[in-house]
């Protein structure tokens, strides 16, 4: 047939069917294995099959290398952590240094880690001493106040004298008082009163005091004062408030009890000498030591930061390198050693168009690793189904992802994405139709596309990432929305007279009966879209409902017919004439004799302006097909036509149900006549057939009951689905009505209401409320809603006519697809 020839001579359409894939076998000598896999990773066109799937990760050949890589990436993550904790920005200096080998990198990383750990522990120790000294200083400051005030009156004058004498004296003791034994908490007083001084967290002070009171049976005096500064708690690295306390008590046992309680509560005790001079001296020494420690700490931090900065230059590059190496070793683990242990065998899938590129990469690898033996690369036959590979550019790939989210196409079956690119935004727009909202969406999409290069290099949040990934979908959705908005004549629910005057006018000059009987149509229908006179009229909803419901049915029947026709092309491609004769033909007949006929009736009713009731026509076509039609007659010969269509539909059901299983059974017995065993696996390459190889045995069973039940399910699904799917398309009407009503409410009840007042503030508030309501409810919620329903219509009503979707996606081994947070 001429059509068949024409169809056969067309070039294959780009996205329509998966690229042709082939199973390849690689035999790689060990010395060039690593390089070969690296080059293939750069090329990114081969998907390796795991030949060692039954081995645990620890039984594989290159497990040590993988462990080393994991260890290196752990070190690199540690460095990254430290850099971010230190608050340094990681900048990547352009790589001036030559590339280093993996072993060298390992050694360097170990050195750096050791150094960093040492620096960290040193500064830990220093910080601890610093804290202790700081606490001691605070205790000295506050406790001296208590001790002075506590002293007996009898010695107060003596004390004053001492103070004056000793403070004017410039005599300084050479031996530091800190060196003396500080555990004796001061010389015993005449009254045997002793004291313990220390510092404790503010949150524990109350309980501490109470515990001390109970333990000493009230024979103690507790003085406390808040410390001046906050101290960094080493465990929680926060600044906490501390309180200096002094406990006066008598007796040795009380002292042990108090010390134990101090230890339990984590209070640090510092001995404070009673002598004022000594106190001042110690305070001076402590301050000096503190200043020293501070400088040392600062120097330490600066040194560490310098080390970290120099690391951060190379960090990204090293992480990349380690990730690549780990991926290469993971892939090498999928290959098998052959008997001589000198070669690695690998199997993989590769698109046929990439064969030459792969061969060239392998040759380069052989040459670069100066290996004597070349790499063998040849194609094999596969019983298992190949992965599906569509070469989509970044315009078509979001649509492909939408289709893949439901199911990846079977190898070489028709790809619905080809039509989804246009019909999905179109059906969205049918539900969203408002050209004002469409312009808002368009602006958003254009902003995303304009900043494409900037946004694609950034790391975005998950919502923004989805939005950015779908920018071309958004663009098409907005363009179609503008178109449908012009057709529905809605600009934020306001109609315009863009395409000329309305086709309706008052019956007479006074418009007296405009509110009762209505206007009259005096010329041709409005040339483009819905007539603007309808908006706001009382009969708007009946007219629009009728229009949109019929529109939904027409669009639905058209899309379902497209689906069935695609199934015809699938059957033709796989040369399955059974499917054509006993599936495609009855399906087309059934759908069109019922719902195609309904569409025809709709169009005829519109063209003739007949008053026939289509519900009545359709129902009585089934209930009493031979009765006279009366006023429901739309055209001559309608009754015989309806009887014929009904008979055709009734024949179509067993036509799609019965013949196919019987014919399949007949074909099966013909094919395997006399043979009771399966196909023998004869091939030249008979060295070990890998257990996981794709060339495993093909099971030859034909279970008739299973096939029959499957066909029955398929037919029932189609027959019942014809009714339910057609009704499902009515959601196009429902959502577009909802959108239009919401839009009207916001316009009339918010904006117009607020605009009616004279007050400027009210107008502004009204405008703001209108803007927010439009943005959040109409632009965001309605967009998501219409998106979802358009998606459902595609996934279920369109795709269940022809799509199997049980394939798997081609995932080549490629360095470009290694993601950041893989570990």
């Amino acid at each position: 047939m001429a059509i068949d020839e024409f169809l056969d001579n067309l070039p294959p359409m780009d996205l329509m069917r998966s690229e042709k894939m082939t199973l390849v076998q690689l035999i790689i000598p060990v010395e060039s294995a690593h390089r070969a896999i690296s080059y293939l990773g750069e090329l990114g066109l081969v998907q390796f099959r795991d030949l060692n799937a039954d081995k645990s990760p620890f039984q594989r050949t290159f497990v040590n290398q993988v462990k080393r890589c994991a260890e290196m990436s752990r070190k690199l993550r540690f460095f990254k952590d430290q850099i971010s904790k230190a608050g340094l920005l990681s900048s990547a200096r352009p790589a001036m240094q030559p590339d280093i080998e993996l072993e060298e990198l390992e050694i360097q990383l170990a050195d750096h880690e050791h150094e960093l750990n040492e620096m960290n522990s040193n500064s830990e120790n220093l910080r601890q001493s610093y804290n202790e000294l700081l606490e001691f200083k605070m205790v000295l400051q506050e406790a001296s106040g208590f001790l002075v005030s506590h002293d007996n009156h009898t010695v107060s004058e003596e004390r004053e004298l001492d103070e004056n004498v000793y403070s004017n004296n410039s005599y300084v003791e050479t031996a530091s008082l800190l060196e003396q034994d500080m555990m004796r908490p001061g010389r015993p007083d005449q009254s045997g009163l002793r004291f313990v001084s220390g510092i404790i967290c503010k949150s524990k002070v109350l309980r501490f005091e109470r515990m001390l009171f109970r333990a000493t049976r009230g024979n103690m005096l507790f003085n406390q004062a808040l410390a001046d500064e906050q101290i960094m708690d080493p465990l929680s690295t926060e600044m906490v408030e501390k309180v200096v306390f002094v406990v006066f008590f008598s007796g040795e046992q009380a002292r042990t009890k108090i010390l134990k309680i101090c230890e339990a509560f984590g209070a640090n005790c510092y001995p404070v000498p009673e002598d004022v001079t000594k106190q001042r001296q110690i305070t001076r020494e402590v301050s000096l030591r503190l200043a020293d420690l501070e400088t040392t700490l600062d120097a330490g931090i600066r040194h560490r930061n310098k080390a970290l900065t120099s690391l951060s230059f190379h960090l990204a590059k090293w992480m990349n390198m380690v990730r690549r190496e780990k991926a290469v070793y993971d892939t090498l683990n999928m290959l098998n050693f052959d008997v001589t242990k000198k070669c690695l065998l690998g199997e993989g899938w590769c698109p046929i168009f990439a064969k030459t590129k792969v061969q060239e990469a392998l040759q380069r690898a052989t040459f670069d690793s100066s290996s004597q033996v070349g790499i063998i690369f040849h194609v094999m036959d596969a019983i298992e189904s190949p992965p599906t590979y569509f070469r989509a550019n970044h315009f078509t790939s979001p649509f492909q992802e939408i289709v893949d989210a439901y199911g990846v196409a079977r190898y070489q079956e028709a790809n619905p994405a080809v039509y989804t690119v246009i019909t999905f935004p179109f059906l969205f727009a049918v539900m969203f139709g408002d050209w004002g909202h469409g312009i808002c969406l368009l602006l958003g999409a254009l902003v995303l596309i304009a900043r494409e290069s900037k946004l694609s290099s950034q790391k975005l949040g998950s919502f923004m990432e989805m939005l950015f990934g779908g920018r071309y979908v958004l663009l098409l959705m907005s363009l179609f929305s503008i178109y449908c908005g012009l057709i529905y004549n809605e600009f934020f629910s306001v109609p315009f007279h863009i395409f000329g005057g309305s086709a309706y006018k008052c019956r007479d000059a006074t418009c007296s009966d405009a509110h009762s009987v209505g206007l009259v149509k005096f010329r041709d229908p409005y040339p483009f879209g819905v007539d603007p006179s309808w908006r706001g009229s009382r009969s708007e909803l009946p007219f629009l409902n009728s229009l949109k419901m019929k529109m939904s049915i027409l669009l639905g029947v058209a899309q379902m017919n497209l689906g069935i026709i695609i199934s015809y092309f699938n059957a033709r491609f796989f040369a399955s004439s059974i499917d054509i004769r006993y599936q495609f033909v009855p399906q087309i007949i059934f759908l069109n004799s019922l719902f195609g006929y309904l569409s025809l009736l709709i169009i005829i009713k519109w063209c003739t302006g007949s008053q026939a009731d289509l519900y009545h026509v359709m129902i009585y076509m089934f209930l009493s097909p031979t009765d006279a039609l009366g006023e429901n007659q739309l055209f001559w010969g309608q009754r015989p036509l309806q009887i014929i269509l009904l008979v055709l539909a009734l024949i179509a059901v067993p036509w799609m149900l019965f013949p196919k299983p019987f014919i399949l059974k007949k074909l099966h017995t013909e094919r395997f006549q006399g043979r009771s065993y399966g196909i023998l696996n004869t091939s030249e390459m008979d060295l070990e057939v890998e257990p996981d190889s794709a060339r495993s045995q093909y099971h030859e069973e034909f279970n008739f009951s299973e096939v029959f039940v499957h066909q029955m399910i398929h037919s029932i699904e189609f027959v019942l689905g014809a009714v339910s799917n057609t009704a499902s398309y009515l959601r196009l009407w429902a959502l577009s009505l909802a959108h239009s009503e919401l839009s009207t409410v916001f316009y009339e009840k918010v904006l117009l209401l607020a605009w009616g007042y004279d007050n400027f503030a009210v107008k502004l508030i009204g405008l703001a409320v209108f803007a927010f309501a439009t943005a959040f409810i109409l632009l965001m919620m309605e967009t998501l809603s219409a998106f979802l329903h358009a998606l459902r219509l595609h996934w279920v009503e369109f795709q269940n006519k022809f799509y199997h979707g049980d394939g798997y996606k081609f995932k080549p081994f490629s360095f470009a697809s290694l993601t950041e947070d893989e570990d």
Partner: protein, 70 residues
């Protein structure tokens, strides 16, 4: 009459669009076929939408009845 004219206008727009796409985004023959399919699908969808709304208004069974306050 107006229906036929506008249908022809849609067809003309379709042809011009396919030519433009062929000139601007030309790839291999497979890619060209894909672009052609996309353009044809878009034009057919748009035409169907317009045609449905136009036909529905040709011989209407109800007319606009103005509500109060217009």
């Amino acid at each position: 009459m107006a229906f036929v004219v506008t249908t022809l206008i849609f067809a003309a727009v379709g042809i011009i669009a396919s030519l433009l796409v062929r000139i601007c985004f030309s790839g291999g023959p497979s890619a060209n076929l894909l672009h052609f399919t996309l353009v044809v699908t878009a034009v057919v969808c748009s035409w169907m939408m317009w045609a449905i709304v136009y036909l529905a208004q040709m011989k209407p069974l109800i007319v606009p009845i103005l509500s109060e306050g217009e």
